[in-house]
């Protein structure tokens, strides 16, 4: 009976991507070693090479078993190169490691293409493959010192980009660009774009002058020398650039890869769990069964003498249940290294691009956090590290001038603190430039030019929507998706991000995240006969206010004075159109909440107490409700709604609260309080 291989595909993809990730990490180690030792590693750590080789080998094996021929053939080429390195026939220098990193990208593209059923960019992959093969020839030449590359292997087609810009006197020496183009065309497939930018106005044209330039895309097996030969007659009379193409092309595909990986992660629905975690779970379940047996024994022949035993049994049951809950939660926990693993490569690529010297130091990558959090943490984390590289760390010259070591350091540190996981991203760069941030905020109309702000308040400005201080929009950061998106993403995970900075010494972003998304720390509040849960992260304080503190600007919603601030007053019973025990402000309580930098006072009847609740989605069987983020089940089995502060504030300003019979409050639907805008 034939086995349907497709059932194993998913596992193969996941394992391959993991193998590639580990290859990438090891290659970066190798490169670092190469950097430390001048340019080549004379005695590379065999364990590193073996790890890389094994990864490539298992991808090759897996892909040929499952019939992914393209992956297999590429992995084969890569494997043989790695084999040469492993056996010491070649030495890993910077160039080789760079090429191997590119190969990892190619393999990843191929695997993702196989997984999604899309076409990979064959040109870019062929280019890397041919370079790999060329490398083999060089290696053999180095090691054996005999054969010439050409005899050994016919190189694959390379994509060349040629810029040919003859001097204007070209025709005077009897040269004809047409002949050159014809000759080039014989070498391979050619695409030409004529550059007419130098062409003067018609009256000013001298027919004996050459005004044109040519941009040629040539795909050929010919070497650079052969191409240069075509131009040999005009070599002194033109500007000529011949570049092989694969590098920039790959840079393009690697962004595609990042996107593919991101989209893939969202439906990566399997979880690898270490065996000890499962063992722990089984132990706990075992204990639970014992407790259950004990309880049924007590109840079978129950007498009042056994009452204390029964209580003890129930206490034990409670403990078992809690342990079981914890170990089930722990199954969903993954080490943060899943998110951190992407960063060394990012730092490596970006520091080269920006011509900065940066070292990334990671601590505490074994800290565990819920899988969902990890998946959604990757983007904000990439953005924060990019920011450090782009804005924080100075170019080497500037660093030396400031008396700092040439190499900048980004520290990434994760640790657990209470029910939270804290991630610190600290750089030793120039720190926040408060004057520039201030100027930018004024320019953007975010604050008045004569506003007096503390340094902390200025630092907070970078989290405002649409704020970016990058002088030019680089493709690294400052792409419009700014820190406000980072903060919102982290907030949506129930966490927060803070910034601290010291001028000239560096900046530090602190990201705080809950351990799990399934459980929320909340405060239960009462309105009428309903209980609602307010997430603890969004609560600032709760106060009792007097009606005199409340004012109502004409046509606006109610405002109240809290110390020096005026905050909008949201009456929860009004927003939800429910019966309340009290409408008199002096009887209930005002909970000051904050979301997206906006504060508001939420009027409730009473605070019931703090508790942890398990989040249950409303949208699974119903749909999203404005002002409600989810539901939960309380200890007595009833359902309570978890309030969404952002949604509530929006609700207060939208027409939803506009209902007939609402009296004076209906006006709040149409106007927005000035300080909320």
């Amino acid at each position: 009976m034939a086995i349907d291989m497709r059932q194993f595909h998913q596992t193969f993809f996941e394992e391959s991507l993991e193998a590639l990730a580990s290859m990438e990490t090891e290659l970066l180690h190798l490169e670092k070693a190469a950097d430390d030792n001048g340019h080549a590693v004379l005695a590379p750590d065999p364990e590193i090479l073996n790890t890389i080789f094994r990864a490539a080998h298992s991808i090759k094996g897996g892909s040929s078993t499952f019939g992914f021929a393209e992956v297999a053939s590429f992995a084969h080429v890569l494997e043989s190169r790695l084999d040469a390195l492993r056996e010491g026939r070649a030495l890993p220098n910077r160039r080789v490691v760079g090429l191997l990193l590119l190969s990892v990208d190619c393999l990843r593209t191929l695997i993702i293409a196989a997984r999604t059923g899309k076409e990979a960019d064959a040109n870019a992959i062929d280019a890397v493959r041919s370079q790999l093969e060329k490398l083999e020839n060089e290696n053999t030449a180095v090691a054996e010192g005999t054969k010439s590359p050409a005899q050994n292997h016919r190189p694959d087609a390379t994509h060349w980009h040629i810029v040919f810009k003859p001097h204007s006197r070209l025709f005077h020496t009897g040269n004809d660009p047409l002949r050159i183009m014809r000759e080039l065309n014989e070498l391979g497939e050619m695409k030409t774009v004529v550059d007419v930018s130098a062409l003067p106005h018609w009256e000013g044209t001298d027919p004996e002058e050459c005004y044109f330039g040519w941009n040629v895309e040539l795909t050929t097996r010919a070497t650079r020398e052969t191409i240069a030969e075509v131009f040999c007659w005009v070599a002194d009379e033109c500007r000529l650039e011949i570049n092989s193409q694969p590098m920039p092309k790959l840079a393009m595909t690697s962004r595609g890869i990042a996107e593919a990986v991101a989209s893939m992660d969202s439906h990566m629905d399997t979880l690898r769990v270490s065996v000890p975690k499962v063992d722990l779970l089984i132990n706990t379940v075992g204990e639970l069964v014992i407790t259950q047996t004990m309880l049924s024994q007590i109840t079978n022949n129950f007498s009042f003498e056994n009452l204390s035993q029964l209580f003890a049994g129930i206490a034990q049951l409670e403990r078992n249940t809690r342990e079981l809950q914890e170990s089930v939660m722990r199954i969903r926990m993954l080490p943060l290294s899943f998110a951190f693993n992407r960063l060394p490569r990012l730092v490596h690529d970006m520091s080269q691009k920006l011509e900065k010297k940066v070292e990334l130091v990671i601590h505490g990558e074994q800290t565990e956090i819920d899988k969902t959090v990890i998946d959604r943490l990757i983007d904000p984390l990439l953005h924060l590290v990019r920011n450090c590289l782009d804005h924080g760390i100075e170019p080497p010259m500037e660093r030396l001038a400031a008396g700092k070591p040439e190499v900048g350091v980004i520290h990434l540190k994760a640790y657990q603190k209470g029910g939270n996981v804290v991630i610190e991203i600290r750089d030793d760069g120039r720190g926040l430039q408060h004057d520039r941030i201030f100027a930018k905020a004024v320019e953007r109309g975010l604050i008045a030019s004569d506003a007096r702000l503390s340094p902390e308040e200025i630092a907070e400005m970078i989290f405002l929507p649409g704020f970016s201080t990058a002088k030019t929009v680089s493709d690294i950061s400052g792409r419009g998706v700014g820190m406000d998106v980072v903060r919102n993403n982290i907030r949506s995970l129930g966490g927060g991000v803070e910034i601290a900075s010291e001028k000239g010494r560096g900046a530090c972003f602190t990201v705080r995240l809950p351990l799990t998304l399934a459980i929320l720390d909340g405060l239960s509040v009462q309105v009428g006969d309903q209980t609602y849960i307010l997430p603890l992260v969004s609560i600032v304080e709760s106060v009792r206010i007097r009606p005199e503190q409340v004012s109502r600007p004409a046509g606006g919603c109610e405002l109240f004075a809290l110390r020096k601030e005026y905050l909008p007053l949201l009456r929860l019973y009004d927003l939800f159109h429910i019966e309340s025990r009290s409408t008199d402000l002096s009887q209930g309580l005002l909970v000051i909440v904050e979301a997206d930098g906006k504060k508001a006072g939420l009027y409730v009847d009473d605070l019931l107490g703090q508790q942890q609740v398990v989040i249950k989605s409303l949208a699974t069987h119903y749909r999203k409700v404005e002002g409600i983020s989810a539901a939960t089940i309380l200890g007595d089995g009833s359902v309570a709604m978890i309030l969404d502060v952002t949604g509530l504030i929006r609700l207060a300003h939208s027409g939803t609260s506009h209902m007939p019979g609402n009296g004076g409050n209906a006006s709040s639907a149409t106007t927005i309080a000035p300080n909320m805008n």
């Binding site: 939800f576 749909r623 409700v625 409600i628 089940i633 089995g637 359902v639 609700l651 007939p660």
Partner: protein
């Protein structure tokens, strides 16, 4: 054998008969396809959903799952009834999406042959036409067969909700 199993899956007996759970609502008997029904449970405490249309009674805790409950009387624009000992919630499962519907009382499970079913006649101003799948004559009684999928579909929910809020605003 396989064929029969497949047919049974769709709630159609080999004779082409379909099984319906019938229930009462304001003196009229209705039927819904039995395979959409997950369970029937008694009235339970519910938590209202803020700013939802009146026919959304709220959500209830069904063994740890949050399930919305719709009052079918209000959904059809019928007068709201007092809860009685017979009032039940029919929990339906439409493609994994659960919902409870409140009805006056459940009555029976009956087989309806295809030849007994007919399309509902069309006439002007009939509000709930879209939820009616057809009519059936069973033992001389008229049974209204409901298209429960449409009734708890979130898209139609949105539509009617919009209608409700415009009506309220006028």
């Amino acid at each position: 054998m396989m064929e029969t199993a497949r047919v049974m899956d769709q709630g159609i007996s080999p004779e082409g008969e379909e099984q319906f759970l019938t229930f009462w609502l304001d003196g009229q008997e209705y039927g819904i396809a039995i395979l959409k029904v997950q369970e029937i449970k008694g009235w339970d405490r519910m938590t209202p959903i803020p700013n939802s249309p009146p026919y959304v009674k709220g959500v209830l805790n069904l063994r740890g799952v949050i399930v919305p409950v719709f009052d079918l009387r209000l959904r059809f624009g019928l007068p709201e009834a007092e809860r009685s000992a017979f009032t039940v919630i029919i929990v339906v499962n439409i493609g994994g999406r659960l919902a409870g519907i409140v009805v006056d009382a459940v009555s029976d499970v009956i087989n309806v042959g295809t030849e007994q079913q007919c399309a509902a006649p069309e006439y002007e101003g009939q509000q709930n036409r879209e939820f009616i799948k057809g009519l059936a004559q069973v033992d001389g009684k008229l049974l209204i067969l409901l298209d429960i999928d449409r009734m708890i579909n979130p898209e139609t929910l949105d539509k009617t909700e919009a209608a409700v809020s415009t009506a309220a605003a006028v």
